[in-house]
Symmetry: D2
Subunit: 168 residues, 4 copies
């Protein structure tokens, strides 16, 4: 049914050039492994990861919060128009086989929370960490580079998806 | 951004063979015009339209009500997992450039209502009609055949989408 | 847990004075039976039914489509702010023990469809009727008056809710 | 229109007795100030805060994730049945004038994120803290006691709501 893995890349709608470069790199790598990128469909990290994926010949899905497909960035292949605002963040996480959080503001934090809640494999890249009682607690891994994040994601996928990917 | 039209085909999760044949025919025609089919992703009319689209080399999107991608029928390329039950019907309609209703039960009626409400072009094929004060009132067109429905849809699309389609 | 019945009254955000009078009458009757009115929280039929319920000392809930509580009409006691647009129509229907449709446009039609789909008892008052193959088919009852609609609703409620009501 | 403040108390569906005692205390205090408590409607912190509010004569709203009103805890006055799973967390936050997070797991973290995103005043009580680059960063205040949390909430409310409250 689903012939290829769908990986969510989450991050803020505005970001600095260094963060955008990380996201673009991620998009390219995911696409070269044959994985579809799903994101929130807007600007910043979302635009950068789609741009990277399209440059590498990949496929991109944007789950839009608003009511207009025209809000999607120029590298979204399939714009899903939810009209549900932030509630669309749950759809993004539920649809993905793994989630990579890149930098990010509070919307990204909500998606991190949903990935943890719904037990969707999650890795961070210069993103939020969590703490309790003044102690940082590691509840999900943090990668140092896009390569590390993508290699970790590959290990989370069921082997039948992985093999079809590594053939690509 | 969106390089091809996305057309929703809506109908019941269970249907008789004659209705399934209509849906399968629709899926094939839409695919041959280069249009992506979006549907609710489950069985009945949804499975038939996806089967028809895939047999003709098209692309299919299923907007699932539940929490499991595995619920998608075997001909869904991209399964969007909403976990929002019937509320997903609004996403289907918002994402489509036009809607074709084939047969259908009450879920289909809700999608007909949303298409009318959101002013997404809608045509029926052996589906619900509306009445008031014991008088049938025609608020959307009804096609007699899948060909008639698809030709009507083509006329609703913006010309830049239409031209890219008829090239396909 | 839920000590009193919650009844949805659905209808358009704009309506003529005659329809508003029906809705206001309904609101008053439901309140006098101790029932809470739930509606979409905006104007037209929604404002009229809330006004009627408040005048009779009842309680009102508005399930708002937008992101601002201030959009609620002046007779809403509890404004639930969904930010989910039309998808909020499913919440209204799921929360109610019965639904009364008064007049109405396409949003109302979607709520009629959800009530039928989710098997929530539904009665109409000068609202949509359904047809198929050029024949009107009666899938839910139509009342002639607000009294008839409310009496029908009372009969649908579980007896423990009904008895607490008729005491009120 | 809205004559009284609605305050969200968020926390996990399972919690230890000490956390439940904090939530119950919060519920009682909020109710004594005339504020309505809104929560996710289930067990743990949600049940405790409702129990505390009802014992003090307050009003409680539960925004349920599932499809059955019967899932609400016994102290929910108004059960809103969303059928939208975790997406209901956004409704809770949008509807509240302020949010108090008590302990909590990942669902609570998502609600903290939405409160920050949507700029709804938020205070924590033995809940998640946030960090970045191995440094804890304070983006929202943490109270030491229920009294401190409630007093902080009172200061966030518009004065017309505050005055009606302190009269209560």
């Amino acid at each position: 049914m689903i012939s290829q893995a769908v990986i969510a890349v989450i991050g803020a709608g505005d970001c600095d050039p260094a963060t955008a470069a990380l996201a673009e790199d991620l998009g390219g790598q995911l696409a070269r492994y044959g994985m579809t990128v799903i994101c929130g469909g807007l600007g910043g990290v979302m635009a950068a990861v789609c741009r990277g994926a399209k440059a590498a010949g990949g496929q991109t899905i944007g789950i839009l919060p608003g009511t207009e497909a025209a809000a999607a960035n120029s590298w979204v292949d399939i714009a899903i128009v939810t009209g549900m605002g932030e509630a669309r963040n749950t759809i993004l996480v539920r649809t993905a086989q793994a989630v990579i959080a890149v930098g990010g503001e509070y919307g990204t934090l909500s998606e991190i929370a949903f990935a943890l809640k719904l037990r969707v494999p999650l890795i961070g890249l210069q993103t939020w960490e969590l703490a309790r009682h003044n102690q940082i607690i590691k509840v999900f891994p943090q990668a140092q580079t896009p390569v590390e994040a993508v290699q970790w994601v590959l290990k989370q996928l069921p082997s039948h998806q992985l093999s079809s990917k590594t053939d690509a």
